[in-house]
C-alpha cells in the first residue's frame, strides 16, 4: 500500500540545473507526458459523454467478450467488450472521469487537512506540534487497507469511503512535509522581521509562510495522483472500491484479472490507462518540481 512516495525525501534534495533537453521536453515543458495525459485522462474525463461510442453501462449480451480490433474483433468495439458485452473503450473513457475526480477530490481533502495541520504544527510548535505529530504517527501506524475494509463494512463501499481512505493515506504525509518546510521558514529573517513589526500570526502565515510552501504542496500533490489511482485499484481488488457498475479503471482491472489469459483486453486497456496516466503525471510532476520548487530554483 503506497503510504509514501519517493518524492518525500527527494523534494528535499536539490535537482539538476541545466538539463539537456531530450525527447520528452522539446520546448522546455514535458510535451509527451502532457499529451498522454490529455489523451488518456483529461479529454475523456471531460468529454466522454460525447466522445464515447457507447454508454459505460450499456450491456449487449450478444457481443460478450469480443476481442479488440486487429485481434479478431472489429471496429464496432475497438478495445473489445467485457463479460456483459460492455464496450471497453467507452468504459475506459468514462473511467477517466472517476480517476480524475477521485484524484482531485481525494488529494484536495488530504492536502487541505494535512497542510493546515502541518502549518499549525510547524508555525506554533510546542503543544500543537507535539499533538499533531503524534496524530501523524498514529495515522501512519494504522494500516490504511484495514481502515478501508472497516469503512466498507461499516457503511458499504462508496465514492465517499474511497475519498476518506485516500485522504487518510495522504494527510499525514503532507502534514509532515509542510511542517518541515515551515519549521525552516520560521527561522528565516523575513518572518522574524514581520514578528518584530507586530504582524499577527494569521497575517504572517498568510503573507510569508503560505506563499513559500504552496509550491511544494502543489508539486507533491501532483505526484500523488499515481498513488491515488493505484490505491483505488487495490481497493477495487479487495471489493471495497467504488461500487459497480461504475466503470473505474481499478474495478475494470480487478474484474478482468481472472480473464487475463482468455480475454486479456478486459483488464489490459484500463490497466494501460492507469499505467500511462500515472507515468505521465509523475513525469509531469518531476518537471513541475524542477520548475517551481523553490529549493530546486535555489540551486
Amino acid at each position: 500500500m503506497p503510504i509514501s512516495t519517493p518524492a518525500s525525501a527527494e523534494s528535499v534534495a536539490p535537482v539538476a540545473r541545466k538539463r539537456r533537453r531530450n525527447f520528452l521536453r522539446p520546448g522546455g515543458y514535458p510535451a509527451l507526458p502532457i499529451a498522454i495525459l490529455m489523451i488518456t485522462l483529461i479529454i475523456p474525463a471531460l468529454f466522454s459523454q460525447w466522445l464515447a461510442p457507447y454508454g459505460p453501462e450499456a450491456t449487449n449480451l450478444r457481443a460478450r467478450l469480443q476481442p479488440p480490433v486487429f485481434f479478431g474483433g472489429d471496429w464496432s468495439h475497438p478495445f473489445g467488450t467485457d463479460r456483459l458485452g460492455r464496450d471497453i473503450l467507452s468504459r475506459t473513457m468514462h473511467g477517466a472521469w472517476y480517476a480524475l475526480s477521485i484524484s482531485v477530490v481525494g488529494i484536495f481533502v488530504g492536502v487541505v487537512i494535512g497542510s493546515s495541520l502541518g502549518l499549525i504544527a510547524g508555525y506554533f510548535r510546542g503543544w500543537w506540534d507535539t499533538i499533531i505529530m503524534r496524530l501523524v504517527d498514529i495515522s501512519l501506524a494504522l494500516p490504511a487497507m484495514l481502515l478501508a475494509l472497516a469503512l466498507a463494512a461499516l457503511s458499504g463501499p462508496s465514492f465517499q469511503s474511497v475519498i476518506i481512505v485516500v485522504a487518510f493515506v495522504l494527510w499525514a504525509y503532507f502534514a509532515r512535509q509542510v511542517r518541515a518546510e515551515v519549521l525552516g521558514l520560521r527561522e528565516r529573517d523575513f518572518v522574524a522581521r514581520a514578528v518584530v513589526a507586530g504582524s499577527s500570526h494569521l497575517a504572517i502565515l498568510r503573507r510569508h509562510i503560505l506563499p513559500n510552501v504552496v509550491n511544494t504542496i502543489v508539486v507533491l500533490a501532483t505526484l500523488q495522483v499515481g498513488i491515488v489511482i493505484t490505491l483505488e485499484a487495490s481497493l477495487s481488488f479487495l471489493g471495497i472500491g467504488i461500487p459497480r457498475p461504475i466503470p473505474t479503471w481499478g474495478l475494470m482491472v480487478a474484474d478482468g484479472r481472472q480473464l487475463l489469459t482468455s480475454a486479456w483486453w478486459v483488464s489490459f486497456f484500463p490497466g494501460l490507462a492507469i499505467l500511462l496516466t500515472v507515468l505521465s503525471v509523475n513525469l509531469f510532476g518531476d518537471w513541475l518540481r524542477e520548475k517551481i520548487d523553490p529549493k530546486s530554483r535555489r540551486v
Binding site: 487497507m145 484495514l146 480487478a254
Partner: protein, 304 residues
C-alpha cells in the same frame, strides 16, 4: 538522554492508547460477527449465544474497558474464525511469514534499486538514466495485484520457474516478494538517484576527482557511503508500506501472513484478530520509530 527517552516512551504509549480507541471503535461499528460466523439458518439461540460470548450485549464503554484491560496483558480474546486459538497466537504465528516476505522484498528492492539509482545518477540524462527511471515508474504505475497475477502467469505457469502460490520453500517467496518490491524499487531508485546527484557535486568528491581517484571508487565508495543515508532514513516508512502492501499481495499469492490474516479476519468480523493485527502492527511501527528517534538523538545530541 534519559528524560528524552522517557518523554518519547510516554508519547508512544499515548499514541498506542489512541490507536486502541480507534481500532475498537472501527471494529465495533463495522457490524457484528453474527452474519459472518453463523449459517444463514442460524437459530436465535445460536445468535444470542455468540453475542453473549463476545460480550456484545454489554454497554459499549464496558466492552472497551474490558478490551483495554485484557489488551494491556496482551490478551485480545479467542479468535472467532479460527476457533480455539487465541487471537494473539494467530497473529504472532503469522508474523514470521510476513516479516520473511517483507524482508525479502526489501532485500530485493535494495539490491536492485541502489545500483539502478547510482547508475542513473552517474549517467544522468542518458539512455541508462531514462531506462532506470522508466523501470522505477512502471512499478509505481501498476496496481500490485495485477503485477502479481501477471508474474504468476509468466513465471509460474508459462515458464514454470516458481510455484504459483502458497508457502513452504524459498521459491514460494520470489514472486510475491518481487510484486511488493517493485513499488519500493521505484521509491528507492529515485531517492538514491537524487541523493547521489547531490553528493556527486560535493566538494570532497570534486577533491577526490582532482586527486585522481578512480571514478568507480569515487562513486561506489565515497559518494554512495554518504548518499546512502537518505534512503536509509527512509527505511522506517518503507517497512511500514511493505507491511500494508502485503495485504493485497498475500491474498493473490495465498501467502499465509499478517496481511492475509487481516483480510480474512475482517471478512469474518473476527474482532479479536483484527484488533491484534492492528495493535501488533502499530507496536512494531512505533517501536521502530522510537528506535530511529533514539538513534538520531544519540548521533545528534542537539535533538535532545
Amino acid at each position: 538522554m534519559q528524560r528524552f527517552f522517557l518523554v518519547k516512551l510516554v508519547e508512544s504509549a499515548i499514541a498506542l492508547w489512541v490507536i486502541t480507541l480507534i481500532v475498537f471503535g472501527l471494529t465495533h461499528f463495522s457490524g457484528n460477527p453474527v452474519g459472518a460466523l453463523l449459517p444463514d439458518d442460524a437459530s436465535p439461540e445460536q445468535v444470542a449465544f455468540l453475542i453473549n460470548k463476545l460480550g456484545l450485549d454489554q454497554p459499549i464503554h464496558i466492552q472497551y474497558l474490558r478490551f483495554l484491560g485484557n489488551a494491556v496483558q496482551g490478551d485480545f480474546g479467542l479468535s472467532m474464525k479460527w476457533p480455539g486459538q487465541s487471537a494473539m497466537d494467530v497473529v504472532l504465528s503469522r508474523l514470521p511469514a510476513t516479516l520473511t516476505l517483507g524482508g525479502m522484498a526489501m532485500l530485493i528492492s535494495v539490491v536492485i534499486a541502489i545500483p539502478l539509482g547510482v547508475a542513473s545518477a552517474t549517467r544522468k540524462g542518458t539512455i541508462v538514466d531514462s531506462f532506470a527511471q522508466g523501470i522505477a515508474l512502471i512499478g509505481q504505475s501498476m496496481p500490485s495485484f495485477w503485477l502479481g497475477i501477471i508474474l504468476i502467469w509468466v513465471f509460474a505457469v508459462g515458464l514454470g520457474m516458481f510455484p504459483t502460490s502458497g508457502s513452504g520453500t524459498w521459491a514460494h517467496l520470489v514472486l510475491p516478494a518481487i510484486s511488493i518490491a517493485w513499488f519500493q524499487i521505484s521509491a528507492l531508485t529515485r531517492l538514491t538517484r537524487s541523493a547521489m546527484l547531490e553528493v556527486l557535486d560535493a566538494e570532497y568528491v570534486k577533491l577526490a576527482r582532482a586527486k585522481g581517484v578512480s571514478e568507480p571508487i569515487i562513486v561506489w565508495k565515497h559518494a554512495l557511503r554518504n548518499a546512502a543515508v537518505v534512503p536509509l532514513t527512509y527505511f522506517g516508512v518503507l517497512a511500514g508500506s511493505v507491511l500494508t502492501g502485503s495485504v493485497v499481495i498475500e491474498t493473490v499469492f495465498s501467502w499465509p501472513g499478517l496481511g492475509w490474516t487481516a483480510i480474512e479476519a475482517i471478512k469474518a468480523r473476527d474482532f479479536p484478530v483484527v484488533q491484534s493485527v492492528v495493535i501488533v502492527f502499530a507496536v512494531i511501527f512505533i517501536l521502530a520509530n522510537l528506535l530511529v528517534d533514539l538513534l538520531y538523538a544519540y548521533i545528534d545530541p542537539r535533538i535532545r
